[in-house]
Subunit: 405 residues, 2 copies
């Protein structure tokens, strides 16, 4: 349901780029923007308690409609009073619509291309039975039972979850499809957008804002058309989804088409599934307010730490033999609880290789702490008119400054 | 190496039982006794960081010689400056000798009987090749390679680990063996004890104390003989191990034989592998100073919470269907971080059933917090001359008092 009040309060602008910094207001507190949103896909940030997420400086997490629909089910979460109360997180929550996950089952390559990885076993185990105008019939990866999700289903689930920000149900097209397929798919996404907005207007909880999703693949005219179509609807915020191309420069170009087409101060812009350090910096310059990504948490669980090293995509895989005897911390001078406690790469390597939960947790904490500091650094840079220098320094491998809010 | 100074400072005694309360001094800080020792088997309390363990009120953890020998190896841990520095735990550490684990591979029923469970897959996958006077040859459960552990090996590993309290290498006999087998085995354990003490006297780090282990199965004369034999050696502390019988009353009887035979103020007594609430209460009455057990951490990872319910062994399994919609906390009025955060049985059930790390962690925290409070309650009761009433109340299902040190 379109709100008549602005939910985004822009406080600062960078004169040279589209970057902006401010506050996104929700009934579960303010979200500092630009900000990163950690994944709580299945009603928990994996390995962390809500108090940990809070202590790392996060205002908001992302729950997943598709996964929570399959287990424990939105009716159960409704029984507990919604997702905030179920998972005891009193900050803001955005829920992904489930579109990405549903379509990933059909063409696993969406996941590959957009997230830069192979689809997980669980997602692949499910399977699409039919994609129709009404919605998508599929088999649950949990028990093989037949399920249906369409625009109204997704919104109904999100209403039961009671998230602060709901995303519309969209068809997420992979990279390797034709312009014609992308166009037809984008048009269907727009028809689904109307149905989502209609359902939301009538039934959603008062506090829940709705975000439209811009599709259109890597085609400029389709992206612009989609951005305008979404902006024309009375949505509260706008997310950018789907295939953003097969390399970073193309991704930035595609995102730029969309953000320039939705030149809008009142509505927050969210970039779906992007979280590499350089992509976050560029995303902020392109006018993105919030980002979500599995990267810091998923990589953490696989022994990859985020470090200020642009040569290696800001990553170090500490599971390699070369770190066996390393007494180095994940990052020199890092103020995160893991590095502050003096945890060495050698010890963390041992823990991760032995699948010790504490190791997965400590790497997750380090990675999320890094991204929290990065976003605080970028927010401060926008506020103080120093984005150009800070962005350059960060791109060159400067560690994010500490102690910023 | 026998120390000429007392390591145990007994400050209070219960007039009606053998219970005593005080301080066990180590170079890594004081351990309040009677106290529970959480397992950090593989150089981490599973799912927890050292700061968590500290915050729960623990002074000491237990590392395992057998597991750390197989991975990452004691030489690697020595490279890091010992186990304290490797795992960044600055409190005290006791290391189990590896005897229990080595012999569990041969007769898995030791584990069954003593720990009340089936041996884990990993332990079962290894296998004993030969038990001889020299020691035990076995296959690693990790890579099938042939390994050897004898008294000197165990002490050498523990010296490299640099634990504050080292346990001697013993043969751990199962319940279902004859008196003759038990006797021969106990005699070998005593010969191994001499070799351990000899090695330790010459090579162990100065700060490391050595504990002998009383064996003798369920036979009074063998237990008493073993207790006296161990006490006669110049060990710093005495642990009670092996088969304690097939029911609780027998266990208490066996422990009582041993503690009465080592009526000794200077030396701490440790009861190996025991951690049920009623057993801890009785153990304190029998004069035990420290206990270790996998129960609170292992059960926590399987969805079992410790609660003040004597009818159900102080346990509730929250994975059952009946808890699906439960908004109850694990325990009403519990001050642990999990219950304080308002986590419901329904939510924790969902997390544990979905193998979410945060669920395993939050149950582990609750269970360890419960046992920390129980031991603080018992210490206070001994100090204030109220053990009889408190023990009765706790046995009847009173929750441990909070706010005690």
């Amino acid at each position: 349901m379109a709100r008549l009040v602005s939910v985004l309060e822009i406080r600062h602008r960078d004169p040279a780029t589209q970057a902006r910094a401010g506050i996104l207001r929700t009934v579960h507190g303010d979200v500092r923007t630009p900000g990163f949103v950690p994944l709580a896909t299945k009603a928990t940030v994996k390995g962390l308690e809500p108090r940990d997420v809070k202590a790392l400086g996060y205002d908001i997490v992302l729950g997943n409609t598709f996964h929570l629909f399959l287990t424990p089910g939105h009716e159960l979460i409704r029984h507990f009073g919604g997702l905030h109360r179920f998972m005891r997180w009193d900050g803001a929550i955005v829920t992904d619509s489930g579109g990405f996950q549903v379509f990933s089952m059909g063409h696993g390559t969406v996941a590959d291309e957009i997230k830069g990885r192979a689809p997980s076993g669980s997602e692949r185990a499910g399977r699409i039975l039919e994609i129709a105008e009404e919605g998508v019939r599929f088999r649950s990866y949990l028990d093989g039972s037949e399920k249906f999700m369409g625009p109204e289903t997704s919104m109904e689930i999100q209403a039961a979850l009671g998230s602060d920000l709901a995303l519309v149900f969209d068809e997420c097209t992979p990279f390797n499809v034709s312009r014609e397929y992308t166009q037809r798919s984008t048009e269907r996404t727009h028809r689904w957008l109307d149905r989502c907005v209609a359902w939301h207007t009538q039934h959603a909880p008062d506090h829940q804002l709705i975000y439209g999703i811009v599709q259109g693949g890597v085609y400029e005219d389709l992206r612009v058309e989609s951005a305008e179509a979404v902006a024309a609807r009375g949505v509260d915020g706008i997310a950018i989804g789907g295939s953003l191309g097969d390399h970073k420069e193309q991704m930035y170009e595609v995102v730029g088409w969309a953000t320039r087409a939705i030149d809008d101060d009142a509505r927050p812009r969210h970039l779906l599934g992007i979280g590499d350090v350089d992509d976050l910096i560029r995303g902020v310059e392109l006018g993105i307010d919030t980002f979500d990504c599995a990267m810091p948490t998923r990589l953490g669980r696989h022994g990859v730490a985020v470090v200020p090293d642009p040569e290696r995509r800001w990553r170090v895989d500490i599971t390699g033999k070369r770190w066996e005897r390393s007494e180095e911390p994940l990052m020199e001078g890092c103020p995160c609880p893991t590095c502050e406690a003096g945890m060495t790469r050698g010890y963390l390597r041992y823990l991760v290789r032995n699948k010790e939960l504490s190791g997965l947790r400590m790497l997750t904490i380090h990675n999320l702490a890094y991204l929290a500091r990065l976003m605080a650094d970028l927010r401060d840079a926008v506020a103080t008119g120093t984005l150009a220098e800070r962005a350059k320094a960060l791109r060159d491998g400067a560690p994010p400054r500490t102690g910023l809010l």
